[in-house]
Symmetry: C2
Subunit: 148 residues, 2 copies
DNA sequence: TTTTAATCCGACCCCCATATCCTTAATTAG
DNA sequence: CTAATTAAGGATATGGGGGTCGGATTAAAA
């Protein structure tokens, strides 16, 4: 995959969190999604520091979305966890190919790629991933029913 | 950049190697391109094992292209050094999004990206990078002349 | 007020990419 | 044959991402 595994975990966790204001526990999310618990907790902490999640400690605490799901973009999450450098610079690392003249042979294709991905990442939100998450649940339930 | 630094070094080195059948020394290439010498040597060894370079030891030895430059694609070099996994699977690592139905919201964009890049990598050859290399040399010489 | 439940925070592994160095093997020049 | 030259290969740092663990901190509940 293109993103780091941490980013992938974050997106899956965000998509699985309820929007009713209740707080989810890191370990519940982890067991539900079958992700490494302590690691996911650390990632959620980062997201809280970046203002994407809100967290409270103590009993009845946990993590919840800091904003409505449709106002958190995939790009934001990527930037929060990886920085912006992921898709910058020449594909092959040719120094003289920094966006202006003298482009490398892959420059045009790469620029289109970047524009494409960038547009997607600013338009796709956690809300879109929630829908996907629900579909997957339906499918899993269906598979279990048929398999039994 | 998208590729590993090793792949970037390899592409630059391949683009800088002469096609007249003479052998280049790893350290000459490294100093010419300002790359870490021992590391580049290791990379060139890998390329030799993969059949992209030919190498001989001893005096007047070194590395040369195993084939004409226009018959070595960028994709081959990437595959030789990184494997094919680089651009496979879902962008966010969603398991249920493996190419068929139930695609993630970035699936379509990502597939277009992959197709685009794949086409480029199988069509762009070292020959194309040689031309780029020469242009950069001209530019550097020009800059030096003007600067002096 | 004490207990409990949770995040928070730091210290610590493991693995891999990057990078270096040294020894060994091969080949040529003298 | 010997010495010089060069790649090949192994051992060894180094840094970051992935991942675990335990204690400190906070806040609610008993």
């Amino acid at each position: 995959m293109l993103f780091s595994t941490a980013t992938g975990y974050a997106l899956r966790a965000l998509a699985a969190m309820p929007e009713d204001g209740t707080y989810s526990l890191a370990k519940d999310l982890a067991s539900h999604l079958e992700l490494p618990g302590p690691y996911l907790a650390k990632i959620l902490q980062s997201l809280a520091q970046e203002g994407i999640l809100h967290s409270v400690r103590g009993p009845r605490g946990g993590f919840r979305l800091a904003r409505p799901a449709h106002r958190i973009t995939v790009g934001e999450v990527v930037e929060a966890l990886e920085g912006i450098e992921t898709m910058q610079g020449c594909v092959m690392g040719f120094a003289a190919c920094s966006n202006h003249d003298n482009p490398c042979p892959l420059h045009k294709a790469w620029n289109e790629v970047k524009a494409h991905m960038d547009a997607s990442m600013t338009h796709v939100t956690i809300r879109d991933l929630q829908i996907l998450d629900m579909q997957q649940h339906r499918e899993r339930a269906e598979a279990a029913r048929v398999g039994a």
